[in-house]
């Protein structure tokens, strides 16, 4: 490979926008964290509802942008050819970025509208996570179709299908198809939430997890040279476990929304099994890295892969399990315990994965133009990535722990003892345990933001370093500059 595929350039654009939105996500999160302590902060200017919507929407969009970028990065390598519809892929990118900008501006400056269908089409749909107005939904579907087309058409033109791309195609079809379930209006809130979870749950707990399995499979092959047969078999095991537990695990969202009682058993049972595939992913990552005695050329990427494996298991698996059985969920549902779970799960499962892939891309990019020398190998390493890595992990754990304490307090004081009323809610929020937890959360939030700044600095500056041959087993690919 001596030339960067156009598809890979597109991947870099996607990641650039993704990282900017990551920063926006953290900033809006900080605004919300401050408002929990001082409710007058930006009151009437950027109310909690607006800041919080931007916080979670920026999250969803930047993670999706990263996933699409990762697909565009690995796809031409997988098939040894340019992605077929690269021109339309670039067009879709610009449409998406323009649409995101318009949606954000409308969120910030229009915020809300009258209670009619026009508001749902042009300002906000007001449904948590998928607030994007309907016109933007249609845009998202169109862009998704372009990505899907590019994957399928490239596989067809290469006349081959690998296990990894087979899983990718099926998963993308399901992922984008499910988004349609979020694009309708009904006055019936039970039906509304029933299908809303098809998007939200079947994304983050099924199709996104499988997509991450695909991206981590590629990453491990590129980072550690793991054999394809092994990686693909593991991927099948993960798909089997994720779909086997996650699809009916959807039931854990159907406990209290007007749905029949059998969902308590079905949802409780399958969601209790949902951590199993995440354990499998840990075994996979640790086993592969152990086989290579950790001697990888791309240290930041490998460490983010580890953060992903453990973070996914702890955040999505353990923190999810903690509140998934209906007997506890009756009291913990809709408390800060969910926020605690959400923070660690999204960070562990998806943020870490995107950062790992970003470092893989950087590792390959910065090797371009370096003239190979005898007896010298190159590794990607710096001091800054370690500070960002440790800072982010400590602060996300800190936020998660603080929110967990707040959530336990709320579960017991407001729900179990207080009877869930308005006053019970206020009492729980005013409890010293809750208020103290909110201070800790803000403190760790600030540490997280500082770590983000260091991360951005590192992304811009990290360079391959020459090391003696015997220190490592693999090395970064040397790419001679072509005139």
């Amino acid at each position: 490979m001596d030339k960067l595929y156009e598809s890979q350039k597109l991947a870099i654009w996607y990641f650039t926008v993704a990282i900017v939105l990551f920063g926006a996500q953290i900033l809006f999160g900080l605004v919300g964290a401050i408002q929990f302590i001082n409710p007058d902060f930006l009151y009437g200017v950027l109310d909690f509802s607006i800041g919080r919507m931007l916080h979670i929407n920026a999250l969803v969009v930047w993670l999706l942008l990263g996933f699409i970028g990762a697909i565009y990065w690995f796809l031409p390598k997988e098939f040894n050819r340019e992605v077929v519809g690269i021109a339309i892929g670039k067009l879709a990118f610009f449409i998406l970025v323009a649409a995101v900008a318009v949606v954000v501006l409308v969120y910030l400056f229009v915020q809300i509208g009258p209670g009619d269908i026009k508001t749902l089409w042009f300002i906000t749909e007001g449904r948590e996570y998928i607030e994007a107005p309907r016109w933007a939904d249609i845009g998202i579907v169109a862009v998704a179709l372009v990505v899907f087309y590019n994957v399928v058409a490239t596989a067809l033109s290469a006349k081959k299908i690998t296990g990894i791309t087979g899983v990718l195609i099926v998963d993308l079809a399901a992922l984008f198809g499910l988004y349609l379930a979020g694009m309708f209006y009904t006055p019936n809130i039970s039906v509304d939430q029933f299908y809303w979870w098809w998007v939200v749950h079947l994304w983050v707990e099924a199709t996104w997890e499988v997509l991450i399995g695909v991206l981590m499979a590629w990453s491990l092959m590129h980072l550690l040279g793991s054999p394809r047969r092994l990686v693909e078999t593991w991927l099948y095991v993960e798909v089997f476990l994720v779909f086997g537990t996650g699809i009916l695990g959807l039931g854990h969202h159907y406990f209290w929304i007007g749905t029949p009682e059998y969902w308590l058993g079905i949802g409780g049972f399958f969601s209790a099994l949902e951590p199993i595939p995440l354990v499998a992913m840990i075994i996979h990552a640790v086993y592969d890295a152990g086989m290579h005695k950790l001697k990888t050329a791309n240290r930041p990427a490998l460490f983010w892969v580890f953060a992903q494996a453990f973070g996914n298991f702890l955040g999505a698996g353990v923190w999810g399990f903690m509140q998934t059985l209906p007997q506890i969920n009756l009291y913990s549902h809709g408390t800060q315990m969910a926020a605690s779970h959400g923070h660690l799960a999204f960070f562990g499962a998806y943020v870490a994965a995107n950062l790992a892939i970003l470092y893989i891309i950087i590792g390959e990019l910065r090797m371009r133009g370096i003239t190979p020398q005898k007896g010298v190998k190159y590794i990607l390493d710096s001091k800054a990535w370690k500070y960002a890595y440790v800072g982010m992990i400590i602060s996300i754990i800190g936020m998660t722990a603080a929110l967990l304490v707040a959530g336990f307090e709320q579960t017991l004081q407001e729900r179990a003892i207080g009877g869930s009323t308005w006053q019970a809610y206020i009492n729980a929020q005013e409890h010293p345990w809750f208020k103290e937890a909110m201070l800790w959360r803000l403190g760790f939030g600030i540490v997280f933001f500082v770590s983000y700044i260091i991360l951005v600095y590192d992304i811009l500056t990290i360079k391959p370093k020459p090391v003696k041959e015997e220190e490592i087993e693999t090395e970064l690919e040397v790419v001679p500059e072509k005139a």
């Binding site: 007001g126 009916l248 059998y262 079905i266 809610y425």
Partner: protein, 222 residues
């Protein structure tokens, strides 16, 4: 037909394992083919079960279904009572009491509920409150908010209205004028019609059968 959760769990898992083993004959369990089959069948079979359960669930969640009332339930008195057989609280739909001083026809009630839902979405209620337990955690859960004792205890006297629905509507239009603690709900510029519709939606939502969530609402533990 009544579906039992255990039957669904056992049947779905059994079918996945059975089909995987049948279609993987001749392969060793460590081979990619075995796990590819397992992945395909778990995805397909679980999806089929989900679709089947979705059809059944609609019998419960459609308006006028087993768990979700018709919009004109807003004409009736609604309470939340303990059902000793089930071991949890259930909404009880009582005699007609009217809403904003009148009895609403089926069509009128449906239009009002529709307006209420659109208003709730257009004002992003869910990014501070939880509805049926889902949403954000900056403000109280609204699942049974219609039944909250605070309306009688504090809001009716403060806003100076006679009925609960009028008091809630007035409060919703000026939450910044009547703060109940340090965290104030912002003024979301609800029109009279929208405020009425939101109150209707809160009353309607409180009549949904939610398997006992939230537990003992309005009754503090002794």
């Amino acid at each position: 037909m009544k579906i039992g959760w255990l039957e669904v769990v056992v049947a779905s898992i059994f079918i996945v394992i059975f089909l995987t083993l049948i279609f993987s004959r001749g392969s060793n369990w460590l081979e990619p083919r075995f796990w590819r089959n397992a992945a395909i069948f778990s995805g397909v079979i679980m999806t089929i079960f989900l679709i089947f359960l979705t059809f059944d669930t609609h019998r419960y969640i459609n308006m006028g279904g087993i768990n979700v009332p018709e919009p004109d339930v807003i004409n009736n008195k609604i309470s939340y009572v303990f059902d000793p057989d089930k071991g949890h609280y259930v909404p009880k739909i009582g005699e007609q009491e009217g809403f904003f001083g009148k009895i609403w026809s089926k069509q009128e009630a449906a239009a009002l509920i529709d307006k209420g839902k659109k208003t709730i979405q257009s004002r992003n209620c869910m990014d501070c409150h939880t509805l049926l337990g889902n949403g954000a955690y900056y403000a109280p859960d609204l699942t049974k908010a219609w039944l909250d004792p605070k309306w009688e205890q504090l809001i009716i006297p403060v806003v100076g209205k006679k009925t609960k629905e009028e008091a809630i509507a007035t409060w919703l239009q000026h939450p910044d004028k009547y703060p109940t603690w340090t965290r104030k709900m912002p003024n979301l510029k609800l029109t009279d019609e929208e405020a009425k519709a939101v109150v209707a939606y809160l009353k309607y939502m409180s009549a949904i059968y939610t398997n006992g969530f939230p537990d003992h609402f309005g009754v503090a533990a002794k």
